[in-house]
């Protein structure tokens, strides 16, 4: 099948270095669903990751948790800040373009990945990548406590 020869190359690339898109229809109807997923390992696990959508704090996300947010179709800026609940000090985020009735999965990366200047700390992944991670996490509904 198309391009599958490259899969081996990609995998060898990954092993050698040891270094947004929608998937499903949203059952809730209007807007799109954004999953913010945090499974960031032991380091910094006691800290909350403060997540912002369009500069609004939407969740103080604990480790091994995910939160679900309904957003309108269009482009949304998503940021995360570890140390402060303050959007001003949040580093560059990602612009996520969303369509109506679609679901998007955004993974928060572990702390050390934040050292690269100006890099986003977030990764938009497919449903199939998100699923096994979601299975290891619980939903956090009390987001702003």
């Amino acid at each position: 099948m198309f391009l599958f020869r490259r899969i081996s190359v990609l995998i060898i690339l990954v092993t050698g270095v040891t270094g947004a898109f929608s998937q499903t229809t949203s059952p809730t109807g209007t807007g799109a669903k954004v999953y913010l997923i945090r499974h960031t390992g032991y380091n910094g696990s006691a800290l909350n990751f403060h997540c912002f959508i369009d500069s609004q704090l939407v969740c103080n996300l604990k480790n091994k948790r995910y939160s679900i947010h309904q957003v309108s179709p269009g482009t949304h800026l998503i940021n995360v800040n570890i140390y402060k609940k303050d959007f001003k000090s949040a580093e560059a985020g990602i612009n996520l373009e969303v369509e109506d009735n679609k679901v998007y999965y955004v993974k928060l990366l572990p702390g050390k990945a934040y050292s690269f200047k100006g890099a986003d700390k977030l990764l938009v992944v497919s449903e199939s990548t998100a699923k096994p991670v979601l299975a290891k996490c619980k939903e956090q509904t009390a987001c702003l406590n």
């Binding site: 391009l3 599958f4 190359v9 990609l10 270095v17 690269f116 890099a119 449903e127």
Partner: protein
């Protein structure tokens, strides 16, 4: 007698294989889907074009973003060029690694015609699965034999939208053990070229290194396709 029986079984197996692929082709035809993407050799489509690639490589605690270009007009061996790594000029190690990765020559895996199956045909979506023929795989990619491929086709637009490949059991890549692999490729049918070209490739791999589980994700985003 034994020979006749053997030939009979071979013919039967061949017919079953043909029937399974033929059924899939029939359904694709019903939805006016261009079946060229089922041809294993169509993998080479993208290499006839020049394009840009943004590669994001994330391991547990590291992230690397690199930009590269593929120029189909250049002689073989000089087509790939690494432009930047993490926003700066690539270092010597980056260039060496990049050169090594892009000089790998792995033969195209071929689908096993006997494994084609339609698993869903409703709600505007057609889902087809198949597996690779183990005889078409080499040491570097023999683990693909246990990674069935799933194709997702939108029957309203008659287009292939994405494909997925998930490992069904742990495997080894050279000396490294992997627990799990999941790939997700999205495509775009380029009207001007009348071909499917990749938009995004996402590969997640759970590796076991020195007893530690490491999750890696590689995302390749393709853009600026031009025909030289």
């Amino acid at each position: 007698m034994k020979h006749l029986l053997f030939i009979g079984i071979c013919l039967l197996v061949q017919q079953v294989a043909f029937a399974q692929k033929a059924t899939v082709l029939e359904v694709l035809k019903k939805y006016h889907v261009d079946t060229a993407f089922l041809d294993s050799n169509a993998q080479q489509n993208a290499t006839r074009y020049s394009f840009d690639v943004k590669t994001t490589l994330v391991t547990d605690d590291k992230k690397k973003v690199s930009i590269s270009k593929y120029d189909a007009s250049q002689p073989e061996g000089q087509r790939w060029k690494l432009i930047s790594v993490d926003g700066g000029m690539p270092g010597k190690t980056d260039l060496n690694t990049f050169r090594k990765q892009h000089s790998l020559n792995i033969p195209t895996p071929q689908a096993d015609d006997n494994t084609y199956k339609i698993v869903k045909d409703e709600g505007g979506q057609l889902v087809i699965t198949y597996s690779y023929d183990p005889n078409s795989l080499v040491d570097d990619n023999k683990f693909l034999a246990d990674c069935p491929v799933t194709l997702y086709i939108n029957t309203e637009t008659s287009r292939l939208e994405r494909s997925e490949m998930i490992s069904t059991k742990p495997f080894k890549i050279k000396l490294i053990k992997a627990d799990y692999m999941n790939t997700n490729f999205t495509y775009s049918y380029q009207e001007q070229f009348k071909e499917y070209l990749p938009l995004k490739e996402e590969v997640t791999l759970n590796l076991k290194l020195l007893g530690r589980l490491i999750e890696t994700t590689t995302i390749n985003e393709y853009s600026s396709y031009t025909r030289p």
